[in-house]
């Protein structure tokens, strides 16, 4: 076999350039097809990554810990003490980037005009700033100063709906620890701007201030944590579960199944594109190669008359397509690598930011070069290309020497 390759490779190479135009067409078809797959894949990954990051950075974190029962029925009865002992030590592990505690309970907010259901979130602003992007999204006024800050920061859209604003007061109502209604007025000290859904639903105040309002001691509702980039989440979740066996430890995927589903749908989308590209490419390859084989019918007959076995003709023609498609694949890879390199400083989508916010996409995408998928997709295109080109090659090997010689005269 090695011997066969050595003999036919130069011949195959020269045959490619007999009809440069046709060879170039095939090269363009293969390289542009592969380029679109690779570039689209890295763009899609960057986009999925960015939109996932954006969502996780709002409130979700990489994972959260609650008291058992809180997720089914969040309220003052399903709270837990702040982390201590083993759990505190586990949260200090280097596999965890940052963590923060929150008091999160359902509540009702009231202005002079309207009453709306919200979640009141008591935070420690310093810790919160390390796990959430919302403290940095205050567009009017300020964020909270400390755990005992008893002002509230509300979403801009919520402020519009309540017809209230900075410096005005709103009333929050909720069930207190004693089972009685807790009601207190709060100064609106800041407005934040993210997406509408979040803005409408989450009202922030100091954690201690919130506990006081609900007549609690130091109970909290959740611990949210983030992990370093490139750190695997699963082992972190496992070790947290081990130190807090009675608690409810969940990853972001469990906390937001919708986001997880969107994520995997997006990465599945590339295979749809891959099959579209491949189908078009296959049609192109089969067409041009069949034409090439047809034009050389006489030659294949001659080769067989000289004693070349049909199997060798098949191998020779397959080598031509292997070289041709392989060359196209290399060019496509180079083009894709170049376009990823050009855009690796980030593609700024802030122009579409409003539109993207609806689906919680990121504003700047960072396409990354991923060697694994590069090699995988290139190999898939190359091998499938060779496989479809087997059809024209079989045609070539079926040329009858007698017919071929008759055609010449």
């Amino acid at each position: 076999m090695m011997n066969t390759i050595r003999i036919f490779a130069p011949l195959a190479w020269r045959n490619l350039w007999r009809n440069p135009r046709r060879t170039l067409i095939t090269l363009v078809v293969v390289s542009v097809g592969l380029w679109s797959v690779l570039a689209f894949n890295s763009f899609l990954n960057a986009w999925t990554q960015a939109s996932k990051d954006t969502t996780l950075q709002l409130l979700l974190g990489q994972g959260q810990i609650h008291a058992a029962g809180y997720m089914d029925d969040p309220g003052v009865e399903t709270l837990m003490p702040p982390p201590s002992d083993g759990l505190l030590k586990a949260l200090g592990d280097k596999r965890i980037n940052a963590w923060a505690t929150r008091l999160v309970v359902p509540s009702v907010v009231q202005s002079e005009y309207k009453t709306l259901p919200v979640m009141i979130v008591g935070v420690d602003p310093k810790a919160e700033g390390r796990v959430s992007s919302i403290p940095g999204k205050v567009v009017e006024g300020r964020y909270l100063n400390g755990p005992d800050d008893d002002g509230v920061v509300i979403g801009r859209h919520l402020a519009e709906r309540l017809k209230t604003g900075l410096g005005r007061r709103v009333i929050l109502m909720s069930q207190g620890a004693d089972g009685l209604l807790a009601e207190q007025s709060f100064d609106v000290v800041g407005l934040y701007d993210v997406d509408q859904q979040t803005e409408d639903y989450y009202v922030f105040t100091g954690r201690t201030a919130g506990q006081k309002f609900l007549r609690l001691k130091d109970e909290i509702a959740e611990i949210v944590f983030t992990i370093p980039k490139d750190q695997d989440l699963a082992p972190v979740i496992r070790s947290l579960k081990a130190v807090a066996p009675d608690m409810d430890v969940r990853s972001w995927k469990q906390l937001s199944p919708f986001l997880a589903a969107t994520n995997s749908f997006m990465s599945g989308f590339i295979y749809i594109w891959l099959s579209v590209v491949f189908t078009l490419m296959a049609i192109g390859i089969v067409n041009t190669q069949l034409m090439a084989v047809f034009e050389r019918t006489h030659e294949f007959g001659l080769l067989q008359a000289l004693g070349m076995k049909p199997r060798l003709v098949l191998i020779m023609v397959t080598m031509e397509s292997t070289l041709l498609i392989g060359l196209g694949v290399l060019i496509g890879m180079a083009m894709a690598a170049a376009s990823i390199w050009v855009t690796s400083d980030g593609i700024d989508l802030s122009g579409f930011a409003r539109g993207l916010e609806l689906v919680q996409g990121g504003q700047v995408l960072y396409p990354k070069f991923d060697a694994g998928s590069f090699v995988l997709f290139s190999l898939v295109i190359w091998i499938l290309g060779i496989v479809v080109a087997l059809w024209p090659a079989r045609r070539a090997s079926k040329c009858s020497p007698v017919e071929a010689m008759r055609m010449a005269t």
Partner: protein
């Protein structure tokens, strides 16, 4: 008679079927002996090409037997027929004999590659045979850069280089002028005399027949006459 290179016994070839059937050969008996320099003549459509194809294992008969060097074509697979052609037969066709992307030397080396010869020996033999047919200095030209006569010489060289038992040429001079025709025939005749190569040449050309040592005449798919000369 057992030392015949090719023997045909009752060979018939029918193309097509029913009303459209063409009897290209009818019950042909023929033996080609070592050292023959035979010409195969006859009017157009008399079956010359068809018979040469049988003798060269390019085609198999509809009935009867063709035995080449002891092997009956009827019992061979396509791949075995290929091997038989590679090892025992050299062909020179009327035109377009050469692989266009290969130089004269490479065209010859290609056959030796199929034989599995080493690079050094391939080169040596190709160079030698090209000198033998008078193409020294043109080894690296592609077919398009050679005249019709030169191309046919390359084809003769290629047919001879693997030292086949028999060389078949079907109207090798049809596209050549009379001077080049003369040269090509002289070449084949010399190779027959000096190297003992067996030739069977299908032709209409009197200049080719001039050198013939055995003249076979086909008529309507039958051998009308078969005579040795001199």
């Amino acid at each position: 008679m057992t030392d015949a290179i090719v023997s045909c016994r009752g060979v018939s070839k029918i193309f097509g079927s029913g009303e459209l059937a063409v009897h290209a050969l009818r019950e042909v008996d023929l033996e080609i002996l070592p050292g023959d320099f035979a010409t195969l003549a006859g009017p157009s459509g008399s079956g010359k090409t068809t018979l040469l194809n049988m003798i060269g294992a390019l085609d198999t008969p509809s009935s009867g037997h063709v035995v080449i060097d002891g092997q009956d074509l009827g019992s061979l697979s396509k791949a075995q027929l290929s091997d038989l052609r590679l090892n025992k037969v050299g062909f020179v066709f009327q035109a377009y004999n050469l692989i266009p992307v290969l130089s004269a030397r490479e065209n010859i080396e290609f056959v030796l590659e199929l034989h599995g010869l080493e690079r050094g020996e391939r080169r040596q033999r190709a160079t030698d045979i090209l000198r033998e047919v008078g193409l020294e200095g043109m080894e690296d030209r592609r077919p398009a850069q050679l005249s019709g006569g030169q191309q046919q010489r390359v084809a003769v060289a290629r047919a001879l280089v693997s030292r086949p038992r028999i060389v078949l040429a079907d109207e090798p001079t049809a596209n050549l002028d009379s001077r080049t025709t003369g040269e090509l025939v002289q070449l084949m005749y010399r190779l027959n005399r000096e190297m003992g190569t067996t030739f069977v040449i299908g032709t209409h050309d009197p200049r080719v027949m001039e050198h013939s040592k055995r003249h076979i005449e086909l008529l309507d798919g039958r051998i009308a006459s078969d005579e040795r000369i001199g």
